[in-house]
């Protein structure tokens, strides 16, 4: 939680950085996927998932941004492609039965309903909480980006938003019972 996010404070800045990473690393990844028999959409999906993993590793401090980005992204992409390939084989061997996926689909549906409700009733709160818990932005930056007068009011808002989200989950979980494990 203490590592600083070097990806930028706003969606626009992050997007510029993703464009730059795309230019640096996607050609090699696409070439690799193409050689392995994959198509453009598969290369795109693998690379985008690799970018998510890379972003999370950078914001958690596991790796440092600007240090051999192409190598990391290629390594993650190769791993994801191998995993996808193995899963395809496994799924084909299921002789047409997909019964084991039904439960997972139901859970995803309940979670999606809850997410939709939260997004329509309190997107700003979700964005503030994202900045704190996922993007690991410093509280001074969060205050600046979200227009709070200072660190204290941004911190209080964080806890107010957490209370709102937590209480909503509690209330809505009664309606979407399968969300509870």
């Amino acid at each position: 939680m203490t590592h600083q996010n070097s990806f930028g404070n706003t969606a626009a800045k992050r997007e510029q950085l993703f464009i730059s990473l795309y230019k640096k690393a996607f050609p090699a990844v696409a070439k690799y996927i193409s050689k392995k028999g994959g198509n453009f959409d598969e290369a795109k999906d693998v690379f985008q998932d690799a970018l998510v993993i890379y972003y999370e590793k950078v914001i958690n401090g596991s790796i440092i941004l600007n240090t051999n980005e192409q190598g990391y992204l290629m390594g993650i992409a190769k791993h994801l492609w191998a995993k996808k390939f193995k899963e395809n084989i496994k799924n084909t061997a299921l002789d047409g039965s997909d019964a084991c996926f039904v439960e997972a689909d139901d859970i995803t549906l309940a979670s999606a309903k809850l997410m939709h409700y939260l997004e329509t009733t309190g997107q700003k709160c979700l964005d503030i909480l994202r900045a704190f818990y996922y993007d690991n932005l410093p509280v001074t930056k969060i205050a600046e980006v979200f227009g709070y007068s200072g660190v204290r009011s941004a911190t209080v808002q964080k806890y107010k938003c957490m209370e709102k989200v937590r209480e909503t989950i509690k209330e809505r979980s009664l309606a979407y019972e399968d969300f509870i494990e």
Binding site: M1, A11, R14, E15, F18, I19, Y22, K23, F26, P27, A30, K31, S34, N39, F40, A43, K44, Q48, L51, V52, Y55, S111, L114, M115, L118, E119, L126, D127, L129, R130, Y133, Y134, D135, V156, Y159, K160, M162, E163, V165, R166, I169, K170, S173
Partner: protein, 88 residues
């Protein structure tokens, strides 16, 4: 801050281990004495999971937007053609 917000703060510190050792000991004692607090910890952990899911979804949208810029904007035509040639 009001009491309920302070409780959220303490749960936050407990989950992420960001409080002092003395706070951690006190919180563990409170968890034993107050079953409602344990229940709140459980709900707050669900909230963290939902926030992570939401955040990832938004990040993926930002990445998809970067992809669209590169593959739809004329400015990046050379890059786009270079990639598409690999799949012909």
């Amino acid at each position: 801050m009001r009491t309920s917000l302070n409780e959220i703060k303490r749960i936050d510190e407990h989950v992420f281990g960001s409080g002092t050792p003395a706070d951690a000991v006190l919180f563990d004692a409170m968890l034993i004495l107050n079953p409602t607090l344990a229940e709140q910890v459980r709900w707050q952990k669900k909230a963290y999971a939902i926030i992570a899911e939401y955040s990832r979804k938004r990040l993926k949208a930002e990445i998809a937007s970067a992809h669209n810029q590169l593959f739809l904007n004329r400015k990046h035509r050379t890059f786009r053609e270079r990639i598409l040639r690999l799949f012909k």
